[in-house]
Symmetry: C2
Subunit: 263 residues, 2 copies
Amino acid sequence: MLYFIGLGLFSEDDISLKGFNALRDVDVVYAEFYTAKLMGGNIDNLIDKIDAPFIRLKREDVEDSNIILDDAMVKDVAFVTAGDPLMATTHTELYVEACRKGIETKIIHASSIFSAAPGLSGLQAYKFGKTTTVPFPDDNFFPHSPYDVIKSNMDMGLHTLVLLDIQAHIDRYMTINQALDYLSKVENQRGESVFPSDKIVVGIAQAGSDKPVVKGGRVSDLLDYDFGSPLHCLIVPGDLHFIEAEALIALADISENLLENYL
Amino acid sequence: MLYFIGLGLFSEDDISLKGFNALRDVDVVYAEFYTAKLMGGNIDNLIDKIDAPFIRLKREDVEDSNIILDDAMVKDVAFVTAGDPLMATTHTELYVEACRKGIETKIIHASSIFSAAPGLSGLQAYKFGKTTTVPFPDDNFFPHSPYDVIKSNMDMGLHTLVLLDIQAHIDRYMTINQALDYLSKVENQRGESVFPSDKIVVGIAQAGSDKPVVKGGRVSDLLDYDFGSPLHCLIVPGDLHFIEAEALIALADISENLLENYL
């Protein structure tokens, strides 16, 4: 049996009761913390309550899935990840391989930024378009795809959830400020008024914690705003229903005059 | 203090450890089970472990939010809902009102169909466009909006998560079959080849349970397929990466020849 168990958004107590009970029953736990990891709490509090060995995988261990699958043929194995399971391609591939080999599987879901971010912002989840990710740029890598996705969603009046690059294996997490800078640079190159300095955006940090930071405003207002520790993400609102505009004022501390067109 | 606590997707053990611990600490629990409710397990198993009174709200109780807010001014109150909190407009409005009144809030997230459905299907979450909902039609109410959303997403190659109407207060839950029939009728009226009978779709039922049903195929193959008990939802795939096509074959039991263009 192979369990895919989500640890949820932030700390070791974001796992579900179902997931926790499964972890206490399995023979071995494999944890994948390089695509994402819990930024709050202390995972050792969870590990201490589990009898089974808790093995932290390296990237190559998941990509060579046989280690996990061979074990799951003969034992009860849990594969745990931050967030909801099966959001990353490598996890889906492991799930597909397990099904192909006839290994019984159970998926135990958990909280995810895909629903948490809309909820925290007060924007309606069904008004979000395609999600995009801003990657860490380098000399030969500066894709405009996040800008294109925002533009395409805007054209349809839709909000965009913008995830920010995570390189957990080297403890490098993109900040909202870096993402705003990235998208402003694309705007400077493209000049299509998708991401001007007076664009209203909402930054969300530490989603899932007791005190998530939800702060909106113009890009120029937030370029230097301190959102605190990772993980960060960004929402670029599309057209706003007045109830959404009122929510942004109350929840994201946006001043009323910036949204007066929607009220 | 007002906690918004998600109960997660399916059964009473889908709540997070954090949410469970909060429920044991609060003075009163208000449960909103008319926009959605847990279809599996037994909520009484959770209620039995909580000392605080567990009050099931009627629709008018949430819309007149003062009952909850007045209590939260002087006590520790939990507002619990199925899924992730703040996905429904009425919940967001309660959150906004609480913030306006200066009531301290904590949001405790949980699993949601918004991430679970992509995960279970094997399709990549970031390739989904806007979500839509198929409502129960009546004589004067047969909106084409779900069809329009699918069409718009398709034009951009994106997948569509189609949620199905829930009227939990009268225990009425739309089935995948009803949704397929609805969308086929729109296709007959509009004839824009958005939802022809050979369109490939994926039905998902009992997400969050130990044995969710994930079954794909042509619309004509699934119109009479028995997906079992609610809740149901539907995914209309857009363009498929070959890895997604392979995932659909393994996870959604779609025959290879239907997807050969993508392999």
